[in-house]
């Protein structure tokens, strides 16, 4: 989706995550999904290769480390949502106007909330891994 925005200097390639584009909405949930899948694979391959009765002592740190990386990426996205889209956590005045600016603010708001949700979801994948370290 090409940015319809006039502030992009001519000659610059359009950025995927910038005003006018809605890709930022799927970014955070996709990071969560990737983390979930990777954790699943790591644990499954670990247990399958090393057999039952082995513990998840080491892979739990891989899962936690991946989690930290993913949460860092999500924080980065949240910063973008605030800086480039003017997103806020709590919308006090309803957004009713039909304009580029209002649409961006709405996308920024939704993206921020999705960032929070995805970060919490990642936490919920990491916690069981840390508490229950068994195949």
């Amino acid at each position: 989706m090409a940015p319809r925005n006039k502030t992009v200097p001519p000659g610059d390639a359009p950025r995927v995550i910038d005003q006018g584009s809605v890709w930022i909405l799927v970014a955070a949930p996709s990071i969560w999904a990737a983390h979930f899948l990777l954790s699943y694979w790591v644990a499954a391959i670990w247990c399958a290769k090393l057999g039952r009765g082995t513990t998840l002592m080491e892979p739990r740190w891989i899962i936690a480390g991946l989690g930290a990386l993913c949460i860092a990426a999500i924080i980065g996205l949240a910063v973008l949502a605030i800086r480039r889209y003017g997103g806020v956590f709590v919308i006090i005045e309803e957004i009713t106007e039909s304009s580029e600016r209002a649409r961006d603010r709405f996308v920024g708001h939704v993206a921020l909330l999705l960032c929070v949700l995805s970060a919490v979801a990642i936490l919920f994948t990491v916690i069981p891994g840390m508490v229950l370290g068994e195949c």
Partner: protein
């Protein structure tokens, strides 16, 4: 209407009493789940009251603008931070309970194999495995570790008053510990739909004084006392029951159905569903599928009169 409400409440309460009641825990593991339940319930009641209170207040109070900063702070702390912390806390608590009740230690190990629709039970003792079925006895106050598996489809092992439940999965071994704190005969059941007679797949979990338990287990380990030339045992052999059932100490070694070595010492017949009486035993053999639909045991309607009586009294003597 009121009568209907009262009846419904009574029925519900009746459902929550007695030997299947997980809200009157008789074991440590059920107790930890019960405590968690009450805490969650109380917390939910508080949150519900606050939310409804706030809604009522908002509805009644005169509308006037709030300061933006305050409103924002209220939403972020009350709507995001607090719920995340509470849910994380509950998650960790629940996981710790799960870790404790599945951890691999216990004074006694019992292997239970879920079959359609009965339970194969094997006590691991220093003298070797002791096989029985459809009834589980446990020593009071000791932690018993169950190693669970299934033969055909997924079952689930649950003694609500003592603890659980835990899935029994073909080709896998799951673990569950039970530490009974009250003497009694508690009800156990399969908690995962597993086909036709699923609702009739039950067992008794009998909690005994440790001394009595040791004596019971010793008795259970002994082979059956079958008199030379016993008429009932002859019928048992002629009818081919031994192809499916084992009676230790005899030729009968079939692994398909429940071990019958000490059948009559069980409180119930047919996986926890009928009283162990000669009448029920006779009907079990002649009208098998009326007693328990779909099961893998053939009915023997032709077995009547003196031969049936001899077989029944032989089975009832297997103590």
């Amino acid at each position: 209407m009121r009568a209907l409400g009262a009846t419904a409440t009574l029925t519900l309460l009746a459902g929550c009493s007695g030997r299947h009641n997980w809200l009157a825990a008789a074991g440590e593991e059920a107790q930890s789940v019960e405590t968690l339940f009450w805490v969650v319930l109380a917390g939910a009641a508080v949150i519900w009251s606050l939310v409804i209170g706030a809604a009522t207040y908002a509805h009644r109070a005169e509308a006037k603008p709030h300061r933006e900063r305050e409103a924002r702070r209220f939403i972020i702390w009350g709507g995001v931070v607090l719920p995340v912390l509470v849910v994380c806390g509950l998650l960790v608590w629940g996981l710790l309970i799960l870790r404790h009740i599945t951890s691999d230690d216990g004074a006694l190990t019992v292997r239970v194999d879920g079959e359609r629709w009965w339970w194969r039970v094997i006590y691991d003792t220093p003298e070797g495995p002791v096989t029985t079925a459809n009834e589980i006895r446990l020593p009071l106050g000791e932690r018993t570790l169950f190693k669970l598996t299934a033969d055909d489809v997924i079952h689930s092992f649950w003694v609500p008053a003592l603890g659980g439940k835990m899935d029994m999965i073909p080709g896998r071994e799951t673990t569950l510990a039970l530490t009974p704190r009250k003497l009694g005969n508690w009800g156990g059941l399969c908690a995962e739909f597993c086909g036709g007679a699923h609702a009739l797949m039950r067992f008794d979990a009998v909690v005994m004084e440790p001394g009595a338990f040791v004596r019971w287990l010793e008795q259970e380990a002994r082979p059956a006392q079958v008199a030379e030339g016993d008429r009932g045992f002859a019928v048992f052999e002629e009818e081919g029951c031994g192809a499916c059932h084992a009676i230790r100490g005899t030729e009968a070694q079939g692994p398909v159905g429940p071990d019958l070595t000490h059948l009559a010492s069980r409180d119930k017949l047919g996986a926890g569903i009928y009283a162990m009486t000669p009448d029920n035993m006779a009907r079990w053999i002649t009208d098998t599928h009326e007693m328990k639909p779909d099961i893998d045991m053939p009915a023997y309607p032709g077995l009547q009169g003196e031969r049936l009586d001899a077989l029944v009294s032989f089975l009832m003597s297997l103590e």
